[in-house]
């Protein structure tokens, strides 16, 4: 049972890292960034490129991927979102422009690395395995769980304590007021996208290391999960997203153990549907679902 708990912790951490980036952009800018799975995948390929073409060790490649994805996030905002903001377009258009970017980037990666999944060169990624009794705990996964918790605490600290965090929260509450109060809105938006995409990219790198495989469509399965996580945790609430992620991770593993196989997939969406109806603001959400 300990092992399944550990598995749930790992899956929850991956969902949390991915959902955090997704929730950050949504909470600050009310945008559902459908290009977020692309940053997840891009992180893995950036690390792969750094390790194979440039020959950097895995931890350097991971950090590089973090910054490459951050930069991609800023570029994404400039190309797909800023023009729409300037023309006060409906929020829906931003969802579609990010979808267009996804189509382009995924196809570019496929043309370069092919559609099939590829693996890191042998030995490039450390795989130390700890055996406690018959339970098997893998080093890299433990690292991922620890690192994601550190990142989550870090992000909550930044949002709560720092000036940047105050700017972001002001922007989230009321962009026009924030601008009047002298918040450098453009800098805050760029920072939002940098942090969001960098986190998403890092989650991608970590999952690629854990499984030693990456492919152009690895981000898509996480997108639906991220919706569930954000709603359950509370739209726009970062700690909510983290809690939602671990609830979903535990829920999925528990439903695997206890529920008949067909119902397992229905569990995630049944939970999502229930939360939306009973408590649309989710656990920690402060944004009323039906803003009158």
């Amino acid at each position: 049972m300990l092992e399944q708990l550990y598995n749930a912790l790992f899956v929850g951490s991956v969902y949390a890292l991915f959902a955090l980036g997704f929730a950050l952009v949504f909470s600050v800018l009310d945008i559902l960034n459908l290009a977020h799975p692309t940053t997840f995948m891009l992180g893995a390929f950036a690390a792969y490129f750094a390790m194979t073409a440039v020959g950097l060790p895995w931890y350097v490649a991971g950090v590089l991927a973090f910054f490459v994805c951050g930069a991609f996030g800023i570029a994404l905002d400039r190309i797909a979102f800023a023009p729409l903001r300037r023309r006060s377009a409906p929020g829906l258009s931003a969802m579609i422009s990010s979808l267009a970017v996804t189509l382009i980037v995924v196809r570019l990666i496929e043309l370069r690395y092919g559609g099939d999944f590829i693996t890191f060169p042998a030995g490039a990624v450390p795989s130390l395995v700890l055996r406690i009794g018959d339970a098997v705990l893998e080093g890299i996964r433990l690292g991922i769980v620890v690192l994601s918790i550190v990142l989550m605490l870090g992000l909550t600290y930044v949002v709560r304590r720092t000036q940047l965090g105050r700017d972001l929260r002001a922007l989230a509450e009321n962009p026009r007021a924030a601008r009047i109060l002298g918040v450098d809105v453009d800098r805050a938006i760029s920072a939002t996208f940098f942090v969001s995409s960098a986190l998403g990219g890092l989650a991608g790198v970590l999952l690629a290391f854990a499984y030693n495989t990456l492919d152009s469509r690895m981000g898509l399965p996480l997108e639906l999960r991220a919706f569930t996580v954000m709603v359950v945790g509370g739209m726009g609430s970062l700690p909510g997203a983290v809690i939602g992620a671990y609830i979903l991770g535990l829920g999925e593993v528990a439903s695997l153990v206890y529920l008949p196989t067909e119902l397992r997939d229905a569990f995630a969406f049944g939970l999502l549907f229930l939360v939306l109806i009973v408590r649309p603001t989710g656990l920690l959400g402060h944004r009323a679902a039906d803003r009158v």
Partner: protein, 391 residues
């Protein structure tokens, strides 16, 4: 309001024509091998519908290259009684409606003698009936599910042949070999929610029942699952002698890693999904036992020639998809020659049915009464990044 009416009317008419005017101005041209012009007889056109984009784009370029190599070899050796073969390749985009459009284009515009493909069984379920209705021979080159040849869901499918070893034949062979060599008593099957995986699940269950092996548990994963540790942990609790992966290559790789970690010493039995070059680079590939339609290690002359010719032309190793599309083209060319009149589709069909022990990279190739492929099954495992026979 008036302006809206005119705009409405004009755009609505254009809506009908846009596909028309769009289509004719840039008619999709195939990348057929430039047949040497001036051939006395008209070219014989063959259509290949394959997924170059969409979810199944990883079948390419191998699936296209295998067929292109065969066409080149056939044309260099005098073509079909002097007439040149021209291969027209269309991307089916891993989508049923695009697959149907590709088939209709081959039949209506290109007036092909026969069609190969499409890549995915779900696309074939829509495309094959189109060829069946128009009476055009089709050779499936990568559909291994149920209902493709013989008894098909959409009624009679006598125009459809299959060169890709069906799971119904490959899986029982694999299960028989694995049960006898490993003395299996109890297994757990982990399966996905796609058409291919569910077909495999049915075939595996019947095969294990026939070999007196109990299937302790069937665990389903979905396309949205990211981590496979929980599934293998769940399987481990049943204490099986081996794990069965009824899945495509991606998930199978993750299952191999988890089994190596959580159940050291246990093997992973799989269907055609595991038969992918990408898996060979997985550190735990040695655990898998899979029934494949093609063995790189086979020493038949037809196979060694194929491998060297493929490497010479594309400077990369061929895989099973290349071998199967290559074989299908060889079988088709042989039938075209024997049919006497390549444009007479019924004659070509009869010639295809008469294919007997044709030497191909897949071994001695014949069609069964149900137009399915009759060829040896190679039960393989992997060693040092290569598929090797499972002893």
């Amino acid at each position: 309001m008036a302006r809206l009416k005119t705009a409405f009317a004009s755009t609505f008419i254009c809506a009908l024509l846009v596909a028309a005017c769009g289509g004719t101005t840039t008619p999709p041209t195939g990348t057929g091998v430039a047949a040497t012009s001036g051939a006395p007889k008209a070219d014989i056109k063959i259509g290949l519908a394959t997924s170059k984009s969409g979810a199944a784009n990883f079948y390419n370029p191998q699936q296209s290259n295998g067929a292109l190599l065969a066409v080149e070899q056939i044309n260099n050796a005098g073509g079909i009684n002097g007439a040149k073969l021209q291969l027209i390749i269309e991307d089916d985009g891993s989508a049923r409606d695009q697959g149907i459009t590709a088939f209709r284009k081959f039949i209506e515009q290109d007036k092909v003698a026969a069609i190969l493909g499409p890549t995915l069984s779900a696309v074939a379920a829509g495309a094959h009936p189109v060829a069946q209705q128009s009476g055009v021979p089709v050779i499936a080159i990568s559909n291994t599910g149920l209902g493709i040849v013989g008894k098909c869901d959409y009624g009679p499918c006598d125009w459809i042949f299959r060169a890709s070893l069906g799971e119904q034949t490959a899986v029982p062979e694999t299960v028989k070999a694995a049960t006898s060599k490993l003395g299996l008593k109890k297994v757990v099957i982990i399966y996905g929610d796609g058409k291919f995986e569910l077909d495999d699940l049915t075939i595996f269950k019947d095969a294990f029942k026939a070999n007196g092996v109990t299937v302790a548990k069937e665990i389903a994963y979905t396309a949205k699952d990211v981590d496979f540790a929980p599934f293998v942990t769940q399987a481990k609790a049943e204490g099986p002698d081996a794990i069965v992966a009824s899945s495509l290559a991606g998930p199978a790789g993750k299952i191999l890693d988890e089994v190596a970690k959580q159940m050291p010493g246990k093997r992973v039995i799989g269907g055609n999904g595991l038969n992918s070059a990408a898996l060979l680079s997985n550190a735990n590939a040695g655990l898998m036992i899979v029934g494949t339609a093609w063995s790189r290690a086979s020493t038949d002359k037809a196979n060694t020639d194929f491998i060297s010719a493929y490497k010479a032309k594309f400077n990369t190793e061929p895989d099973q998809f290349a071998a199967q599309s290559h074989t299908a083209m060889l079988v088709l060319a042989d039938a075209l020659k024997r049919s006497g009149n390549p444009t007479d589709k019924a004659a070509v069909k009869k010639a295809l049915e008469a294919t007997k022990d044709l030497p191909t990279p897949l071994g001695a190739f014949s069609f069964t009464a149900d137009h399915d492929v009759k060829q040896p099954t190679f039960v393989m495992t992997a060693k040092d990044g290569q598929f090797t026979p499972f002893q």
